[in-house]
Symmetry: C2
Subunit: 219 residues, 2 copies
Amino acid sequence: MTEETEAPSTKAEAPRRRLSFDDRREEFLTKAVEFFAQEGFESSTRELARRLGVTQPLLYRYFPSKGDLIAEVYDAVYVKRWREEWGLLLTDRSRPVRDRLLDFYVAYTNVVFHNDWMRIFLFSGLKGMDINRRYMKLVRARILEPILAELRFEAGYDDLVATDEEVEFAWIMHGGIFYYGVRTLIYEASVLNNKHFVIETAINSFLGEVAKVREEATR
Amino acid sequence: MTEETEAPSTKAEAPRRRLSFDDRREEFLTKAVEFFAQEGFESSTRELARRLGVTQPLLYRYFPSKGDLIAEVYDAVYVKRWREEWGLLLTDRSRPVRDRLLDFYVAYTNVVFHNDWMRIFLFSGLKGMDINRRYMKLVRARILEPILAELRFEAGYDDLVATDEEVEFAWIMHGGIFYYGVRTLIYEASVLNNKHFVIETAINSFLGEVAKVREEATR
DNA sequence: ATACTTAATGATCGACCGATAAATTTACGC
DNA sequence: GCGTAAATTTATCGGTCGATCATTAAGTAT
């Protein structure tokens, strides 16, 4: 038995099932997301193929290189999982900002608090990927600054553009919530398995102090 | 030129400097910390040796295996950089808790907000290292719970043991501050380069809401 | 200077990596 | 059923990895 490549899938006989190009490609990409999320991007294409039950060269029929596959993994996580309706949730002025904040962070963490998303975010951040920095700018422009603008509007301000201090404070709240996800999903070290409590408390704590930060910075 | 191993250090001639066992070992370990912090633990011992200006097999005279070297890297970061006096800072009842909190987080972040520390913490967390989980328990037992106990004492409580809700809220504050470090050091995406503002605002925001969390949980 | 100790290098092994090309098998149109 | 295009595997290449071992050279004691 010359064993250069791995035995495809199950026990004795490999049924060698055949899929259409698009289906196979989607299957590979989906599995690649969870594989690289779990094992890191340094893990081998051979191991990925083994878990897919196919041989390693087959991957190269669907993706020109490992780097291209990883780029599509980034895209599947960072871009495709972003929900445009999040912006609408935050700017619906028929409701109190506090309610909007709660609903937004529940919706947002429903997407972001998953092993795949979290781990790929951290891995790509450590690799210094540009897509990571662009994502941080997106969070600031589409989440934090709108939140602060809505709070200014509700407080009767004419100028709705937040100061750097306000943005930084919004990052603190956002980070507090985000770090809860890291603790539960990555470090498996959350004391209270209650996402809603965390979101609500973080928001209350933020709202209780944001006026003071705004006034001191605007002064 | 048979080029299996790398040319040691500078241009033409390698002076092949000789160090005592202890000095060499310390030099290797120090460089290994910043090397693995920057490049990740999957990076090669050959590249590490190249940056040290020595040959790769020499590393194996000082560390039995790559894994042993990495274990010492963890120890140098997680264990050796922990300051026992942090506990004293938090429990000095001659000063208001707010002042103690400020001073503690300035001191704590002076150690933790460094590229080496941050990156090794994140890398080891993603690898699921046990030392990482133990560190989280240490933070809870030696930082968060003492903080909450001091706050209960100052508020006149007899029972100084915090509820899970209080601990979770303390984690939110801690995470907000920690994530500022991640943003500045890893993602290079902080809007305001002012650590003291972040610490002070996070603490104010925490202190403004902690009584409510405590009362609602104790009720 | 000579002998001895040991830091440090040179060479190399087996395993694994990303990637390519040729051979093989499956599915589908006719 | 049959031919053909495409999906999949087999085989393999050059490079890199962690680790081992024999050799070389630098420091030290005599």
